[in-house]
């Protein structure tokens, strides 16, 4: 980070405590000084500019804010940013490699697994984590695994197809 110029915010009111946190986001250590009440989703979006993580329902139901916390899907709209101090977070921006898309991303495009795109980052991250624990799932297992992520556009059928297609591709890669 450049130190050429940084605007210093006005002194916080004395009764507002702040905490310094360091979170590994998409493989990069990011440090921030934050109020303890700041939600992880807001730190990622507004603090770190990673707007691929969306916020939807505020009640952990819709899953558009899903990120991977040490590899496990969590709803970042109901986790405090301070809870992520010292942990690894993967967001949609970290899903693709330097030159190529993750098979889950490719499959969502190939199988028309998205329409408005708002649920897609959370849906893909849930799928990625799921396929790491269950590389050869049945359709029912995929549907159950995705049941914490809502989609209003697709009717899920193509999302399920996308996850099954990604599973096949990942198995192919693992076999090589």
């Amino acid at each position: 980070m450049s130190s050429l110029f940084a605007e210093v915010p006005p002194e916080p009111a004395s009764d507002v405590p702040v905490r310094r946190v360091t979170i590994n986001v998409n493989g990069e250590a990011r440090t921030a000084v934050i109020e303890p009440r700041l939600l992880l989703a807001h730190l990622l979006r507004q603090g770190f500019g990673l707007t691929g993580t969306h916020t939807g329902c505020d009640t952990t139901n819709c899953g558009v804010c899903t990120v991977l916390f040490d590899g496990t899907p969590i709803k970042s709209c109901t986790m405090l940013a301070v809870q992520a101090d010292g942990h690894n977070i993967l967001t949609v921006e970290g899903l693709a490699g330097a030159s190529e898309l993750h098979p889950v991303q490719e499959a969502f495009k190939d199988e028309h697994g998205l329409q408005c795109g708002f649920c897609t980052p959370g849906m893909m991250l849930t799928a990625k984590a799921f396929l790491e624990t269950n590389p050869d799932p049945t359709e029912d297992e995929v549907r159950w695994a995705l049941s914490g992520n809502l989609c209003r556009c697709t009717g899920y059928q193509n999302i399920v197809k996308s996850v099954l297609a990604a599973a096949e591709k990942l198995r192919g890669q693992a076999g090589n």
């Binding site: 691929g52 899903l95 495009k109 995705l146 989609c151 999302i159």
Partner: protein
């Protein structure tokens, strides 16, 4: 050598979506993703009560919180003559309440602060003193003698009636009923629902004092209508207003109306001369923005013993909440309700409709629906099943007896619509074959012997999509045409802009396919842009399945204008007269010498480098398209279910959809639309509704109480197609985005009703929650879902 149209991504190609490239990388650009320098954040304080007089508002403590820049109340708005705003249905709506609150969740005050957390804190520090008033939560209460007057702000409004409206032939319908062998009746409530896109509403208003220009980033399906509305409401010159609708996280009708939050953020930005962002939380979205449905339908059908329908009589009582803010064609007070029964040949019909105010959020938006056709077709198909049962005629056969036949088009419906094409009987046959109708009836009879309850439900309908021709369709007097502008660059690449606005429908992909079809320019060479009123041509936006029928037609027409000019350039390049030139996809050639030709790309280069005398340089144009008629897709949805008699739980065994939406531009996207629509249909039938208790508390103010189906509950769907091209659309396409939401619910409900047939239950109101089905099964009476609900029962 002719171009392969599928290879260049033309008509009929299941082209992968262009917009996905950013969405799968998390690089979408939704309103909340936009950050402007110096931007402040706005929060809204909402009323906890459904009906109350405001005695006082004390904002002192809110102002005292560090980081608070502005606190606005109704008084602030009134000082700028903005306390009230016009709705899209010639009513008025409070921006911030001044006199009283009229529904739970109504906007009372706003705080603008350095960050959203401070703004929320400050909202909680505002003290409002209310004097509670009696609450009305349904039309029956609203119409009762002595009911409290909700809209006492309006002169000459002496009761809670919004409108009384009628259409059809009353005398002819009376004669049909006098001649009937049998009269079938049905009453039901189509419950209040919320479109609930996952992205809530929001805006960033950015007023620049130096240029006097107001830029507003906004979640809107109809940016040009918003620009017109802002010009009228805020009294700003229209050319100084720029509305930008960036990526939308779904819309479904929720993002058509003008909401108080938009207006408040605009005033705040004008007062503070800084960008002001307002992002609604989910509860705010669910309790205050455009609801849908909430209508009581009563009807009867005059029948001849042999199954012929002689006439239909209908009455509707619709609950519009506290402000009449439907976005719908101004001529028709209850939307296109009178498109009901359009696929059946019915000699006479009459509809009366009454709208009322209640203490609920303003409702009546077209939720994935072409203005009330969802309610119209649901009632139609529930009534058809009830009538077939009353006559003892097979439900498929009853439909076949009454369908408009293929050789009867164009057909004038009893309510005056002109349907122009379709193969209704064929669609039904395809559906029955796919579901295995006769087999299923045998299985059902077999299962009944073991006490198992199987049922099959059919829903067939044609609906009017793509409003609409300017003779009949306008919103606030603005005719419902649409537009496209196409610029072909010198290397044959192009940019297309339209007045529509995609919310996930994939316009960036499909509009380019229409250009490819008309001009032979590969779809990958065409950029599509929408949603910015400074650059896009004027259009009425995307809702009511109007994009393909209207804007899509404009894309074809502007492409043809480009082709006409390219023909002149080709004649010049080939040194022959225009009359001697023929067109094939992507290329003009000399009729007598087909080897001599020039491609569309060569014509484009000539438009900038080798223009004949007398011809204007450049290769760009625009088209405004006023459709001659609506488009009339047809759908046949068939569901089979099993009901558990011990619990009332029902499971979908199979769901088959046969859609005839004419020519399919991108079959992959069409099927995606159908599956999404079927899921919303299943949602309505099974779980999704918003109701109210007697105090007007909204039950369903978050996703824990307002149930949306997940991948786990949602059944699988089997899709089929029949293609009857639209006779008047330039490429033969019809609307499709809403057919399944419109026609689907009746298939599920009819299936459950079929499973429990014979116990004297005529109706269970949606959603068919297990407790409702169980109540019907065990107590053998109809089950109503009308509010108020008793909270202690839940």
């Amino acid at each position: 050598m002719q171009l392969d149209e599928i290879k260049i991504g033309g008509l009929g190609a299941s082209r992968r979506r262009v917009e996905d490239n950013r969405f799968i990388r998390g690089k979408g650009n939704y309103v909340d993703d936009i950050v402007l320098p110096g931007m402040l954040h706005m929060e809204i304080l909402r009323s906890p009560l459904a009906h109350a007089r405001i005695k006082s508002i004390d904002t002192t403590k809110a102002w005292a919180i560090p980081g608070v820049r502005l606190v606005m109340t109704g008084e602030t708005m009134a000082s700028r003559n903005l306390a009230w705003m016009p709705t899209l249905s010639y009513d008025t709506q409070a921006v911030l309440a001044t006199d009283k609150v009229r529904f739970q969740g109504q906007e009372v005050a706003c705080v603008i602060a350095d960050d959203p957390y401070i703004a929320k804190d400050a909202c909680e520090a505002i003290v409002v003193e209310y004097e509670p008033l009696p609450v009305i939560v349904n039309p029956q209460q609203a119409l009762a003698p002595g009911a409290p007057l909700i809209r006492d702000d309006k002169e000459n409004q002496l009761d809670n009636v919004v409108f009384d409206w009628a259409v059809g032939d009353k005398d002819g319908t009376d004669r049909a009923f006098a001649a009937a062998d049998v009269v079938s009746k049905l009453e039901l409530h189509y419950p209040r629902s919320h479109p609930s896109p996952l992205e809530s509403c929001g805006s960033i208003a950015d007023f620049d004092r130096a240029t006097s220009k107001l830029t507003v980033y906004m979640t809107t399906q109809a940016p040009h209508i918003i620009r017109a509305a802002v010009a009228l409401v805020a009294e700003l010159p229209e050319h100084m207003i720029r509305i930008i609708s960036p990526d939308l996280g779904g819309g479904f009708g929720n993002k058509v109306p003008v909401y108080p939050g938009y207006v408040a953020s605009i005033l705040a930005s004008i007062l503070l001369e800084r960008p002001v962002k307002w992002i609604e939380d989910k509860t705010g979205n669910l309790i205050s923005t455009g609801f849908a449905r909430d209508i009581y339908l009563h009807g009867e059908m005059a029948l001849r013993k042999d199954g012929k329908i002689l006439g239909v009589r209908m009455h509707t009582d619709s609950d519009h909440g506290a402000f009449f803010s439907d976005a719908q064609p101004s001529k028709f007070k209850i939307g296109l309700m009178h498109s009901t029964f359009a696929c059946y040949d019915i000699p006479a019909a009459h509809l009366t409709a009454r709208g009322v105010y209640t203490n609920k959020a303003p409702g009546g938006v077209a939720y994935r629906c072409s203005f009330r056709v969802t309610e119209a077709m649901f009632f139609q198909e529930r009534m058809v099943q009830a009538a077939a049962d009353d006559l003892g005629i097979d439900q498929a056969e009853f439909r076949r007896i009454n369908f408009v036949r293929d050789d009867d088009f164009p057909h004038r419906t009893a309510f005056g619509f002109l349907t122009d094409s379709g193969q209704y009987g064929k669609c039904l046959d395809v559906g029955l074959e796919a579901i295995g109708y006769q087999d299923f009836l045998r299985q059902k009879a077999e299962a009944a012997k073991q006490g198992r309850l199987l049922g099959i439900g059919i829903s067939t309908m044609t609906e009017p999509l793509g409003a609409g021709n300017s003779r009949e369709y306008d919103i606030l007097g603005i005719k419902m045409f649409d537009s496209a502008e196409l610029r072909v660059h010198m290397t044959g690449k192009a940019i297309l802009r339209t007045g529509a606005k995609s919310q996930g429908q994939g316009h960036e992909t499909t509009w380019a396919q229409i250009v490819a079809h008309e001009l032979g320019i590969p779809a990958d060479d065409v950029t599509v842009e929408e949603g910015d009123t400074d650059t896009a041509p004027f259009g009425m936006g995307t809702y009511a399945s109007r994009s393909t029928p209207v804007a899509g037609a404009a894309v074809a027409m502007v492409s043809r204008k480009i082709r006409a000019k390219a023909r002149k350039l080709a004649a010049h390049l080939l040194e022959v007269s225009e009359e001697d030139i023929e067109w094939e996809l992507g290329r003009f050639y000399v009729r007598s010498s087909p080897d001599r030709g020039v491609t569309i790309q060569e014509c484009a280069m000539a438009a900038y480098s080798n223009v004949p005398d007398g011809l204007e340089p450049g290769l760009e144009n625009n088209a405004y398209y006023d459709p001659p008629n609506l488009t009339w897709p047809f759908a046949c949805y068939i569901a089979t279910v099993e009901v558990d008699p011990g619990t009332g739980v029902w499971d979908v065994l199979n769901m088959v959809a046969v859609d005839d939406c004419g020519v399919r531009i991108n079959p992959m996207i069409v099927e995606g639309q159908i599956m999404g629509g079927l899921t919303e249909a299943y949602a309505m039938a099974s779980m999704q509704f918003i109701t109210f208790d007697a105090e007007g508390n909204c039950v369903g103010s978050n996703f824990m109480d307002y149930l949306l189906p997940t991948a786990w509950e949602t059944p699988g769907f089997e899709l089929h197609e029949v293609v009857t091209p639209c006779p008047h659309h330039p490429i033969g396409a019809k609307g499709i985005g809403e057919c399944a939401t419109v026609g689907g619910p009746a298939a599920f409900v009819n299936a459950v009703m079929d499973a429990i047939k014979g116990i004297g239950v005529r109706n269970i109101d949606m959603p068919l929650l297990p407790d409702r089905v169980y109540e019907a099964l065990t107590e053998r009476h109809d089950v109503s879902g009308a509010p108020p609900v008793k909270m202690d029962d839940r």
